[in-house]
């Protein structure tokens, strides 16, 4: 680990100013990811800005939805009654995230900013374009069982590890980002970048910006949402494949749908083709099948992760059955 200086500002303004003033400054909240990255030489900030004193821990109901402060702990959000009742996919995603101890430390904002769990990214002695541009991608020719089958490029095939982000995209969540020039709002779906030619550009967070909150709108489909995850062990494992599905049902017919996959791409992978395949239809077996087929269109599996194509289809089918489809 490199030496660094530690700051603990008590206002949002100071925090943002400190982040802006230092080229290698990085924010720390729960610390469950950044400390690991620092210990392993993956991230070496000169300045660590501890934002835990900022007043960003509130979970508030508004007339249009729920606003979750970025410093809310995963465990608090998972058990919040409004979340449990109106946004079940969020509670479900959080309860299959990490372990109880980590959920007590990790924050909502930090969860969305955690870096990929590509083992090559997290071991500084391997080549990784995302960590060190133009050094090469070890995963493409290496061990890629956990890697992307959608939206990848020849420069990077890693996947985004957050369960929460997948559920939030399915619920049309928006981020509140605060920087030197004030606050802006951005749909979470548009926040993450696919790797393309520049895998080192992971998301739309600008220099000196902080995630300060997440707005989740009430919608006719939010309460009928479900998150399902398949991992290599029963808890405390990153998703091989996961899905968040959110359906507005009317007399057995799907009026609106959101279908978003985790574990298959560098961002939560919303598949509008699968949504279209079920919208306006009864959730019959044939509909489920066509949704599953649509979901994997364009998938490019590698040697180690071909199973994910089949797994995506099975996970989606199961999630839709949970939300009222025909078994």
């Amino acid at each position: 680990m490199q030496p660094f200086s530690y700051h603990r500002p008590n206002s949002q303004g100071t925090a943002i100013a400190t982040l802006n003033a230092n080229s290698q400054a990085f924010a720390i909240a729960g610390g469950t990811d950044i400390l690991d990255l620092m210990k392993n030489g993956v991230k070496s900030p000169d300045h660590l800005i501890d934002i835990n004193d900022l007043p960003l821990t509130k979970i508030e109901e508004t007339s249009v939805g729920l606003c979750i402060g970025a410093l809310s702990r995963l465990s608090d959000v998972a058990r919040h009654p409004v979340v449990e009742k109106n946004f079940p996919a969020i509670a479900q995603a959080l309860l299959v995230t990490a372990s109880p101890q980590i959920r007590n430390m990790a924050t909502i904002g930090g969860n969305l900013l955690q870096r990929s769990r590509c083992p090559y990214l997290r071991n500084a002695s391997f080549a990784c374009n995302r960590r060190e541009p133009s050094s090469g991608c070890s995963a493409i020719v290496g061990v890629n069982r956990s890697h992307a089958i959608l939206g990848a490029s020849e420069h990077c095939i890693c996947v985004h590890p957050s369960d929460l982000a997948v559920a939030l995209v399915a619920l049309d969540a928006k981020l509140r980002l605060a920087g030197q020039d004030g606050e802006r709002s951005l749909a979470l779906e548009d926040f993450y970048f696919l790797p393309g030619e520049t895998p080192e550009c992971e998301n739309a967070l600008q220099k000196g910006e902080l995630i300060v909150g997440i707005d989740i709108p009430y919608s006719p489909w939010a309460a009928n949402s479900h998150y399902l995850k398949v991992g290599d062990r029963a808890a405390f494992a990153f998703a091989l494949v996961s899905v968040a599905a959110s359906l507005q049902m009317e007399n057995g017919i799907v009026r609106a749908a959101r279908i978003v996959f985790g574990g298959v791409a560098a961002k939560p992978w919303r598949t509008r083709a699968a949504e279209a395949a079920i919208e306006g239809k009864f959730l019959e077996t044939s509909t489920l099948r066509s949704a599953a087929d649509a979901a994997v269109q364009g998938a490019k599996p590698r040697i180690g992760n071909a199973f994910k194509v089949e797994m995506m289809q099975r996970v989606l089918t199961r999630a839709l059955v949970e939300l009222g489809g025909a078994a």
Partner: protein
Amino acid sequence: MSLNVGQPIDRVDGFLKVTGAARYAAEFAHQGLAHSVLLQSTISKGKIVSINTEQAKRAPGVIAVITHLNAPKLNKAPQAELGGPDGSAAQNWVPLQSEMVYYDGQHIGVVVADTLEQANYAASLVKVTYKEEQPDIGIKTSPLFTPQNLARKPATYSRGDTEKGLKRAAVHIDQRYSTAVDHHSPIEPHATIAAWDGDHLTIYEPTQWLVGVQMALAAMLGIPEANIRVVSPFIGGGFGCKVFVWPHSALAAVAAKRVGRPVRLVLTRRQMFTSVGYRPESSHRLTLGADQEGKLLAIVHEATVKTDVFPEDDVGVAPVTQATPMMYACENVTTVHHLARANVGPSVIMRGPSESPNLFALECALDELAYALDIDPIELRLRNYTEINPERGIPWTSKHLRECYQIGAEKFGWSKRPSEPGAMRDGRYLVGWGMASSVYPAPRKPASARAQVFADGSALLQCASHDLGTGAYTIFTQIAADALGLPLVKVRVELGDSNFPVGPVTGLSMTSGSVGPAFQAAGEAARQKIVALALDDPESPLYGIDVENIAVDDGRMFSVAEPQKGETYTAILSRHKIYKVEAVADVGPGEETKQYAMNSFGAQFAEVRVDPALGLVRVSRFVGVYDGGRILNPKTARSQMLGGIIGGIGMALSERTVYDPNNGRIVNGTLWNYLLPVCADVGNIEAYFVNEPDLHTNPLGVKGVGEVCLVGVAPAIANAIYHATGKRIRELPITPDKLILTGEVTAVCKTTISQPKPLPAKEKTMNAKTEKTLPPDLESYRDSYAKLFGGVPPLPAARFDFAADVDPEFLRKAEVLRAHVFYSNVFDQKTIQLMCFGILLAQGVPAAAEHAKAARKLGASWQELWFMCELGTVIAGGLGPVNQGGGILDKLRKEEEGQEKRLG
């Protein structure tokens, strides 16, 4: 009198542990302690071209940076050999002696600084450049050879005539199984504090073998064993990785010497994956033949284990075929054991070494046979039950495996099991029940203990033995209390210091049976001394009574006939002004080891719930029943059983260390990526004991249960998964992807009766179409050609086809010779192939082309190959070799380019 042994006593060290007062090796405070960090290689094969330490040396707090350029000479220490008495080093190679790199994570330096953070930072400033070579990696692609001996026994075993047995068999099972690389991953990482006082060295480290550390470090450092003291009072889990001595311990001593201060060295979690061994990958081919009644007529077990590049380390490899000849009554058994030499770190024993991979293959194959015959799996095992060890032709000291089956079946409810796969459901889950046998040797080693009884009526007993967390402190206290006739609270047992009387390694399930009798004998000897004192003392109420008539309870000696006659230890010792009475006992095995075979046994029963759509498996229920002789403490023993079963669940379902296929480096050396079972993976576990004392094994009647609880768990789970789903997964771990991609094979079973199963699909070879079935050992030899050349070349293929019928024995002998030469340790594989190419080219033999191809696969450059053509030309004295060679190489290059295009 036996008051405590056999009782479920709470752990005597429990309070220390839960309050944090138990001090582990890295926690010992030292004045002026310096901190060190290991530097490790980031390639698997090659050499260090340069190692720049200038910046690191200038970093704050740095005291020393030690690399191969400035390290002192370290000697090789005798290698630990399973079944052998000699060495204790876990690997023969010693670090920092040259620029060569043989595996990923090899130690290449040590940075010492005032604080850990300073040492870490400085370590990040060391710049290393390498000349990297293509490593040998895969078990299927690395050079294969058949060693003479493994674990002090011939690596190849045969009795009867398996060929005849297979011919007579009505039903055959012929399948391949494989187990993954698993890492022990104890929660406490290895840590060493080395402190010199003149030429005396004190080592604090968690070890399962104090004396072993003395032996190995004395050899490596070139100092007398007597100058080394090893302290290891508590161990935060070992499972085998702390059994033998790893070179980092010597590096801590070297660093301490260099800086003239005590030095602490703690491995990081990633370094735990590269530095302290693992259960090696194994692949098996199991061929069973049985008659219609299920009587085994032949067992052929051929296995390969991946090992490192140091031939001296081969003796430390735990063989994975040794249980096959002794498990079942079968007249015709052959086992063949190969090793594959690869650029990996050394393996080491891991809980249930040998038997756990061995029985995965054997017990799954038995299950397949049970389905093929439509016989209940327990019934099939009973029909092949043996009371005599069929390998050695001698009886066991005791064998209660039959009772294990019976008790297990009853507790589990086995009689309600429908035999058909897929017949039980619970909602969306398929439910399956599977079982497997378990076995583990019950060895005994010499041990000594000292007992001291003090005038205040308390006692202290000591042995240089160890408590891995298993409860050794507790059971030894129980044994000593009973031997001395003292209550538990008056007895203190100390372990974990090499200054105590010598104890054996704590591993291979032998501590209770080896050290327990030493504490018993020492306690009894001390008691006899005090009793004798009383019987000789005219002032004692016991004066003149026959020693046979004396008993001791609660520290009071009394006449059995007249219990009111007696006095306490305290009374007699005070009267004689004796501060303490001391006795030392040395005990060990005798002739019984030649007369009897000694094993613990077990029966494992698993219930799984499988979500068939998502491929998710949960072990919802597990019942294990064990014959470990007399159970000294059912509470600590049960805990140990639960831990072993959970270890088996991990082996079956999630644990697997993954190596990069290109550079051979470990990819998932972290606990978020190497998946040990978590609470949610573990259902309800029940553990039972037959609890029949085995007094032939040792005077306590205990056989040891540390490993037998893990062996057999993985096959029981795999068999349960088959029963649930009809899917037979023969490759561990059984992960969701394997389950969703494997087709159901439910219907196949009964049709195979009296019809040998077709051979499994093999790797594509050049003559795949005409390839004929060979006996397993010959088949693997033929495979070795495919691995080397990318296919079996036509000439050897024809040789196999023809000679296999006419004179298979010649083939075997020829292949042993060929293996001896081709996989020699004198030259590397690439050089051997280059030389073959050159020699055949000079002779004008067309097969030169095959060796050119093999050399390319092994990393030869075009320059190297062309140089052989030039050499051939000079030696042959004409342009033939360069002409022919040029043709061969040009064709080969075009082929390779064509392949790249197709792949691209």
